[in-house]
């Protein structure tokens, strides 16, 4: 173990960084030569030389990343019109000629490379010792569509896309406040993935924001392709099966969490943003809880908690009770189980494992398969696992019911990453039940609860507000109080500005006013 750790430590960090550190020369051809060497064999990088009278210039961009239309008409076209000038300063070009909204002056070749790779266009002009960055990003990106993993009956239909700018804009459209900050960062030596750390100043504690930034700064990696990379690199307890950072592709979920003083990390190239800190209970809440009427939300939250328990322990309870504690079952139920188990060749433990594993396989097959084939798989699975196995006497009918109920239960958990954690923990529970019966299940639950109580996510106890108990915050855990009673922001996250709304929002017949008072 020690050796292993040492090996890990001593390994030198060898991340490529071939910086030239060269300044942009007044000589255009020299610059172009250097750049061409850097972009050797990059067939998508375009060098577009133009000559307007005495004036020589080169546009440099990556084909497919830029909006060629605006480069063509606001850049190339405008400069070609200036064919009477002998010499142009960068300043003059920016102020009088280039008719695009965002331009910038740079002096290093590295900066030119940097900008070209991010979809900007660099204009180099002969006899000018600086370059001009024209921000005319374009390229193909998926449009805003309905989020597929978090669809709702009531609530906004727009989901985030793979484009960082679109995503931040979607959040900005929800929160039109100058207090909404979006610090941008770049992670990944090769991918140079852009990320934005969003929070609301005054709600999120500065310590939290600083902690998030610090943890992000620690990341030295070649590439970030998905939010999962960052999640695993910054979470508090990397060994835990429980997710400690929430992810979502709904801008409204992000906005709601920002309003509760949390921090979101939006990552370019993925529609999933990360929200931190997260507590255990957060994963049992859906955004719709806050949109539907509170009665049904309360009912659903209780239902979910019951079904989390079922998803975690039902197969193991079945195994434990049928192999160790037969006296616990009502006699008639016992006989109907006994009569259906009569022909089964396996012990209940093995039976449970067979069924659970084949259910998981079926689910996995359904996820990966093309949609058209998926249907065939589900029919096959339902027939084979559900009916034929029972009729053939391989598994008993009660076990099929238990497994399918467990499957349904695991799908009631709104957050997928929590659902898979719970699903995974089911297997050790079955093993514990097969070995020690109910005693094993209790032991397992104790371990899990201890683990949950021990964990923290960005300074917040993971199991709060249950442990440590905060009675005030219970208004939004098992129940969801109506909006007119949700007067304060959650005290775990928001330390500074607790008041969310006026405290007399409960709609009542108006008292003492001239109109509308029938009494």
């Amino acid at each position: 173990m020690k050796k292993f750790k040492k090996l890990m430590k001593d390994k030198p960090i060898s991340l490529s960084s071939d910086k030239t550190n060269k300044e942009i020369q007044p000589d255009l051809t020299a610059n172009i030569e250097t750049l061409k060497k850097l972009f050797e064999d990059c067939s998508d990088v375009v060098f577009r030389p133009i000559i307007a009278g005495e004036l020589k210039a080169t546009f440099l961009f990556v084909d497919g990343l830029v909006d060629t239309h605006s480069i063509q008409f606001s850049g190339i076209h405008e400069i070609l019109k200036e064919n009477d000038k002998e010499y142009l300063t960068a300043d003059y070009l920016m102020k009088h000629i280039l008719s695009v909204s965002s331009v910038k002056e740079i002096s290093l070749l590295d900066e030119a490379v940097h900008n070209v790779l991010r979809g900007n266009t660099v204009l180099l002009v002969d006899r000018v010792p600086t370059g001009i960055v024209i921000d005319a990003k374009g390229g193909q990106r998926r449009g805003v569509t309905e989020p597929e993993t978090e669809s709702v009956v009531r609530g906004p239909r727009e989901g985030m896309t793979e484009s960082l700018r679109v995503n931040t804009a979607l959040v900005r459209q929800k929160i039109r406040s100058n207090r909404l900050k979006a610090i941008s960062k770049e992670i990944g030596e090769e991918t140079k993935t852009g990320i934005a750390i969003m929070y609301i100043e005054g709600l999120a504690t500065p310590e939290l924001v600083k902690e998030v930034l610090d943890r992000l700064d620690r990341i030295k990696i070649d590439g970030i392709l998905e939010s999962g990379y960052i999640e695993e690199l910054i979470e508090d307890n990397p060994w835990s099966v429980f997710p400690q950072i929430q992810n979502t592709e709904r801008p409204d979920t992000i906005a709601a969490n920002l309003l509760e003083g949390r921090v979101a990390i939006v990552i370019d190239g993925t529609p999933l943003a990360l929200i931190m800190p997260a507590t255990f209970w957060q994963f049992l809440q859906a955004s719709e809880d806050y949109y539907h009427r509170y009665h049904i939300s309360i009912f659903l939250r209780f239902l979910r908690i019951i079904f989390v328990f079922i998803a975690l322990t039902l197969p193991s309870l079945y195994v434990a009770v049928t192999t160790y504690h037969q006296e616990m079952l009502p006699t008639n139920l016992l006989f109907s189980i006994a009569s259906s188990r009569e022909a089964i060749p396996f012990p209940a433990f093995v039976e449970a494992l067979i069924m659970e594993i084949s259910f998981e396989a079926l689910r996995e097959a359904g996820v990966r398969l093309p949609k058209i084939v998926g249907q065939a798989v589900s029919i096959l699975g339902a027939l084979v696992i559900g009916q034929a196995a029972v009729e053939a006497g391989i598994v008993s009918a009660p076990m099929v019911i238990v497994v399918s109920l467990t499957g349904i239960a695991s799908f009631t958990i709104p957050r997928f990453n929590m659902a898979i954690s719970i699903r995974l923990l089911r297997f050790p529970f079955i093993a514990l039940a097969g070995m020690f019966g109910l005693f094993g299940i209790v032991l397992g639950l104790l371990l899990i609860v201890t683990h949950l109580c021990k964990m923290r996510s960005f300074g917040i106890p993971y199991f709060s507000p249950i442990a440590p108990l905060s009675v005030k915050a219970l208004k939004d855990v098992f129940i969801r109080v109506p909006w007119w009673a949700m007067n304060e922001r959650p005290e775990q996250t928001v330390k500074l500005d607790v008041t969310r709304q006026a405290d007399d929002l409960k709609p009542t017949p108006r008292q003492g006013s001239e109109e509308g008072n029938p009494s």
């Binding site: 192999t323 006994a338 259906s340 009569e342």
Partner: protein, 384 residues
């Protein structure tokens, strides 16, 4: 490294040293639903068990459903002889491929001959066994207990289930109650008596079971069995008449039936010349079910007459059993237990010693307050 090795050792030893090996699959267990004890030869006991057969009970995946009409039902009755009940069960075990499991015993039947000899040993055996439930119902069988276990009521798959249902709506006597009564001063056991019967009158060697009499115990020995009238008196005394019908005649040939929905008993004790006398106030309320004579129950006078008859009838039934029991020195209601709790000093010093001999002279007055609170139809009234 050492921590990892320690954890690994612990994990492996936990799995290998404990658990798992005392598991028992449902298919390896014989679930006993009813047991019976009879007097065997000499000083021995004949223990019998009733075990439903899962394979012929007709669950999904198992072969065949229960064919009740011909031959044997979907259950097994086995008998074993032994010096005590446990030995009897051990002997049965030698004949069975599955382990006998008493955790689901719901009915315990004691044969008449054994009951006459004393049942405290049998109760003790049921109480001591860790897996046996003391909430099993206790029943006394007329004749041998095994006969009841072998009975095949058509309504249920095995007689144990039927007996349980019947015992539940009867006086609800469990092993625990019996043990309590046995250990209480001034209270004797009353246990339902069961017998085999047929569903049709005159069908003597029937396969059904009936439960309409009671076995009255003196200490742990069967003293006498009640007749029908006394049986009803017991139901009134034990407040178990609700949802049962009470019929009585108002005029010579015609009867009225009342479905009882309220039945309460309240004893009251007064001392007359230093001797306790009891007054039992009985409250009964019911709903008119049958009115053979078409009596106009709305008429206050007629109603009064009917009620008086009803009260008389109830009083007679209660009195019959109390008289019979007290004449033999048996305290079925637990007047002595009442005194034990309420007049403990006097009970200890004066009464407890020869309570049984004072019982025949114990004065018990019964006041019945009956009511017919609802009628569906008060009877056809011919128009004049």
């Amino acid at each position: 490294m050492s921590v990892l090795r320690l954890l690994l050792t612990m994990l492996i030893s936990i799995i290998l040293l404990t658990g798992c090996w005392d598991r028992s699959e449902i298919n390896d267990i014989a679930f006993v639903v009813a047991t019976g004890v009879d007097k065997g030869e000499g000083n021995k006991y004949l223990t019998s068990v009733q075990i439903p057969l899962p394979s012929s009970m007709g669950g999904a995946g198992s072969s065949g459903g229960g064919g009740g009409t011909s031959g044997e039902g979907p259950f097994l009755v086995a008998q074993g002889l032994g010096g005590n009940e446990r030995q009897g069960i051990e002997e049965i075990q030698t004949k069975l491929s599955r382990r006998i499991y008493l955790g689901h015993r719901r009915v315990h039947i004691i044969g008449e001959s054994l009951a006459k000899q004393g049942i405290s040993k049998s109760l003790n055996a049921a109480f001591t066994h860790p897996r046996s439930r003391i909430s099993s119902f206790l029943l006394i069988s007329k004749g041998d207990a095994v006969k009841l276990l072998k009975a095949q009521p058509r309504m249920e798959q095995y007689s144990g289930e039927g007996l349980r249902e019947m015992a539940k709506i009867n006086i609800n006597m469990t092993v625990r109650d019996a043990i309590q009564d046995l250990n209480r001063e001034g209270k004797d056991m009353v246990i339902p008596l069961i017998n085999t019967t047929g569903t049709i009158v005159g069908d003597k060697n029937g396969k059904e079971v009936e439960m309409d009499e009671f076995a009255i115990f003196k200490d742990d020995k069967l003293a006498f069995t009640t007749n029908r009238k006394e049986g009803r008196g017991i139901l009134w005394l034990f407040e178990k008449m609700s949802k049962k019908p009470a019929s009585f005649s108002v005029t010579k040939n015609d009867e009225i039936s009342v479905q009882i929905f309220e039945n309460r008993i309240k004893p009251k004790m007064t001392l007359v010349n230093g001797k306790p006398t009891f007054a039992l106030s009985v409250r009964a309320a019911g709903m008119l079910f049958e009115n053979e004579e078409d009596l106009r129950i709305e008429d206050p006078k007629t109603y009064r007459v009917i009620i008086t008859k009803m009260e008389e009838n109830i009083k007679n039934e209660i009195q019959a059993i109390i008289k019979h029991a007290h004449s033999q020195g048996i305290d079925i209601f637990g007047f002595g237990w009442y005194l034990f709790r309420n007049e403990h000093q006097q009970w200890e010093h004066n009464w407890s010693k020869n309570w049984r001999s004072t019982l025949p002279d114990l004065k018990v007055t019964i006041n019945v307050d009956a009511d017919i609170q609802r009628t569906m139809n008060s009877g056809m009234v011919e128009k004049e």
